[in-house]
């Protein structure tokens, strides 16, 4: 269980979690500089405190994540008075996610709300009032920050994790009873319930695999709005940007070509493209634009094909295509997905259809609920790994097996509520007839 404490390496996003031009991620704690060094091209270990370094942040696989600027703080210098650094990276959600993932991997955990302030206060930063420090921490309880919302387990997942937890608790209790009562009282030796544990591990792995890690959540999705000229593409594009947090990045093409922007649609980072319309044309520039649209459509994860309901246009045959009718205020196409950029009607349906289609393939994993946070996935995998270690330790001793089972419970406990020693004893007394 994470606790407010000092010196342990932590990180937090200092700017809002939404697409923006720049984002600042800060980290603090013993050894954070040397933890970062292998993944940063600048020579930060050798730099003086307060120096600004430019370079690349790389993932553990060696691939560039982003071009960044890093400020180094030696012990006693920065906000927390601990060894610290601040990274200024591009404010794209995939970049932020990838840097967070890197930190988790190299042993820097996500800070609790207000933990930076807490540390600054505990390290005697006199300019910080007690009230300020307390306020930050209390916010953690009442606040509904974007970060926290991502952490919450949804109902079915909570049930699943709870089920796994209770099963492990039962197994642990059946082992603990042998560690708390001698072999003369409980002569039969405990055997590792391999089948049961394998089933739990499979289940945990299945839940974990539903984490929309791959492309969708770390790199985001490419969504291309296509259709004939004047079908209503640009108004949909603008409406989507208005409805969803977005920034319009520097326009890379012309209106004849395409425009793009980063947006977050239902929490999914999306690179949204508005393209040139299809029509027969002789004009070279426009023909070039259409060509580019076609190649964009090839790389798209989802194509939103907009049709003017009064036209005879039909969407291309492609599983990635979502057909949407515009001008709902003028022509009602009945059951077909429609919207009006004038009244805003139907827009919410279009958005949920986009999200639905993007996540469709991913949630089909054999009835297992979908998780959406990396931390959740990591805890599930941690629990599964601990169960594996428990089985491997059978040759070593029951005491070590029990330790791994407890670790598994602790990992799941962070998702569903902690398991205490008392819970283990309750289970033990209710299941076994004990006592000389």
């Amino acid at each position: 269980m994470a606790h407010y404490e000092t010196d342990e390496p932590i990180y937090a996003l200092a700017t809002p979690y939404s697409p923006s031009a720049l984002a600042v991620i800060r980290a603090s704690g013993d050894g954070v500089i040397s933890l970062l060094q292998p993944y940063f091209s600048g020579k930060i270990e050798k730099a003086e405190s307060g120096r600004v370094l430019h370079g690349y942040i790389n993932g553990t696989d060696g691939r560039h994540i982003d071009e960044v600027v890093v400020i180094k703080y030696g012990k006693g210098h920065g906000y927390t008075s601990e060894e610290a650094f601040e990274i200024m990276c591009h404010g794209s959600l995939p970049v932020i996610r990838q840097i967070s993932a890197l930190f988790e991997e190299i042993g820097i955990r996500e800070a609790l709300r207000g933990e930076f302030t807490y540390r600054a206060f505990m390290h005697g930063r006199m300019d910080l009032t007690q009230a300020e420090a307390v306020e930050e921490i209390v916010k953690a309880r009442t606040g509904k920050g974007a970060g926290e919302a991502l952490e919450r387990l949804s109902g079915t997942i909570l049930e699943e994790a709870d089920k796994a937890k209770n099963e492990i608790l039962e197994i642990l209790a059946s082992l603990e009873v042998q560690l708390d009562y001698g072999e003369d009282e409980i002569p039969e030796d405990w055997e590792f319930p391999s089948e049961r544990v394998h089933a739990i591990r499979d289940r945990l792995a299945a839940i974990a695999s539903t984490y929309r890690s791959s492309k969708l959540w770390t790199e985001g999705a490419v969504v291309v709005i296509a259709g004939r000229t004047n079908a209503g593409k640009s108004s949909l594009y603008n409406a989507l940007l208005k409805e969803n947090r977005a920034i319009v990045s520097p326009i890379e093409g012309t209106t004849r070509d395409y425009i793009e922007s980063d947006a977050e649609i239902d929490g999914i980072p999306v690179r949204l493209f508005d393209t040139a319309g299809f029509r027969e044309t002789e004009e070279a520039v426009e023909a070039e634009g259409i060509k580019r649209t076609e190649s964009l459509m090839e790389t798209a994860d989802l194509i939103v094909y907009v049709i003017d309901p009064s036209s005879d246009d039909a969407a291309p045959e492609d599983p990635r295509v979502l057909t949407v009718y515009s001008r709902l205020d003028i022509v009602d196409k009945g059951k077909a997905l429609s919207f009006s950029s004038v009244t805003g009607e139907g827009l919410d349906k279009v958005i949920s259809a986009i999200t639905g289609k993007l996540t469709a393939g991913l949630s089909e994993v054999a009835g297992v609920p979908v998780i959406d946070s990396e931390r959740q996935r990591d805890k599930l995998l941690e629990a599964s790994d601990s169960l594996g270690e428990a089985e491997k330790s059978m040759a070593f001793g029951f005491d070590v097996v029990a330790m791994y089972l407890q670790s598994a419970l602790a990992s799941l406990g962070e998702l569903t509520g902690l398991v205490t020693g008392e819970d283990v004893l309750d289970k033990l007394f209710s299941s076994f007839c004990l006592g000389k």
Binding site: M1, A2, H3, Y4, E5, T6, E8, L112, G114, Y118, F121, M122, G124, Q130, A131, A133, V134, E135, I137, V138, A140, R141, E176, Q178, L179, D180, Y181, G182, E183, D184, E185, D189, W190, S393, A395, F396, G397, F398, D399, V400, V401, A402, M403, G421, E422, V424, L425, L428, F429, C433, L434, G435, K436
Partner: protein
Amino acid sequence: MRDYDAIVIGGGHAGIEACLALSREGFSTLLITQSLDAIGRMSCNPSIGGLAKGNLVREIDALGGEMGHLADKAMIQMRMLNKRRGPAVQAPRAQEDKFTYSRIAKETLESEEKLSLFMDTVVDFITENGTVAGVVTERGWRISAKAVVLTTGTFMDGRIFIGEYDAPCGRLSESAAIGLGDSLRRLGFHTGRMKTGTPARVRKSTLDFDEMEIQDGDTPMLPFSFETDCIDRTSIPCYVTYTNEETHRIIRENISRSPLYGGKIVGKGPRYCPSIEDKVVRFPDRERHQIFVEPEGIGTEEMYLNGLSSSLPEDVQHAFIHSIPGLRHAEIMRPAYAVEYDYLNPLDLYPSLESKILSNLFIAGQTNGTSGYEEAAAQGLIAGINAAERLKGEKPFILSRTESYIGVLIDDLVTKGTKEPYRMFTSRAEYRLSLRHDTADQRLTRKGYEVGLAGKDRLDRLERKSEEIRRVKEILQHTRIGAKSAYDTLKEPEKDIHELKISSLASYPEEVLREAELDIRYSGYIDRQERELEKARKAENMEIPSDFDYDSVDGISAEAREKLKAVRPVSIGQAGRISGIRVSDTAVLAVAVRSVKRG
């Protein structure tokens, strides 16, 4: 009557440790007991130690307590439990000669120069401004002292039950201490009722031993005390038999005559040590229950029927005992009975075991809602040491959960309280891999020495042993087994230090080799825990001033505030273990405590 530095009330396992700690640290101490013939009496089973409990005994010994010595001298059989199941959860358990144990305990107290013994019953306290100043006895003595340790066991308003019969006793035919409970309630103490039980004792010469399995102990017997070199006595066997359908039928048919099921007993009994009627009712599918027949001592015919505790009427006891193989002709010398008694809510105690209600009063043992001789002795020792620290004007002596079972025991009691008689279990300790019984001296003897209880000879012994262990590890590091060092080889499962056949190790004692081997084997796992341990220690070191004003803290929930005010934790670490206290509450508290310190 003269006055004393300290008074200890009660001569049980807690009282013995408390009065020895005080007198050995140089304070004139008076032990008041209701019966001088019952000092160190083992009221229930004739054994000491067991899983987690054996660790407690060795920790008591490592600190300079007496229980290990007494148990070694009165031992008649010994077993190392859980040999197969993992070294970190092994522990010694010994059968004891009750009479020898009690006699040696009394002799030990009598040989202490600074310790006086007196037979009377304490009925009230003398108090001055919220501080205890002495005691008042049944026969009218008023004796003053600067510190008092209260260890009443099951005697405070004790009542025993055998079927329809009940009587005001702490043990069978031993008068309860009446009046003290009322006095304590008047002073504002919170009392509750708890219940425990003990089985019948039967006559050895009337048992059919050929119908029972024999249960021998280990040879040689290994000592509890780090100061005992060897125990050279022959071991005496125990016997095993089983209940059967007939036994269970008799119990079921008479269950309404049990005071437990009839509602006469209100106190909460232990789930881990249920009476036979509980076992039959709660686990109806079990065809049989195991019964251990254990000698109560050498010079006696009495045998203890471990597993048959009961409060059913005596005629029912006779019937069900006689339905069990080996016991068909047993002469029942003492009946089984249940005892219900007052305990004091341990949440009213600081981790030093000093009362929050009455200063300079320390409370230990079953009075705090625990069960077991070992749990009692551990608290008695800590209470005695802390009473002495108070007399010296020193800071409290508190052991942490990370370094000892004693720390776990006391922290659980004073932080979470208890709803049933509290027994030590290994699963209560988060860091049990680091709390092996054989390392108790490494963990605690220096602390015992520094506080003034463990002698220099103990420390010297420890240093010699530590040096030997260090040398053994060095030899292992410099000896190659194939491609690896012997040291690394031992990290593999099922490798044994003796199998390696390293000639330069031959001269080292077995315990040194064993301890070195286990240190190495567990080093990887201990390292794994080290970060957690470090965090825990840090939180323990963040002290909360004893006069801290919780009402002045903004940002904690009302519920948390009430709980904090009730427990008055000594550290942020302890605060975090109070049930219902959230991470954010402790963080806010840490900030508030820190700003108080800044002034």
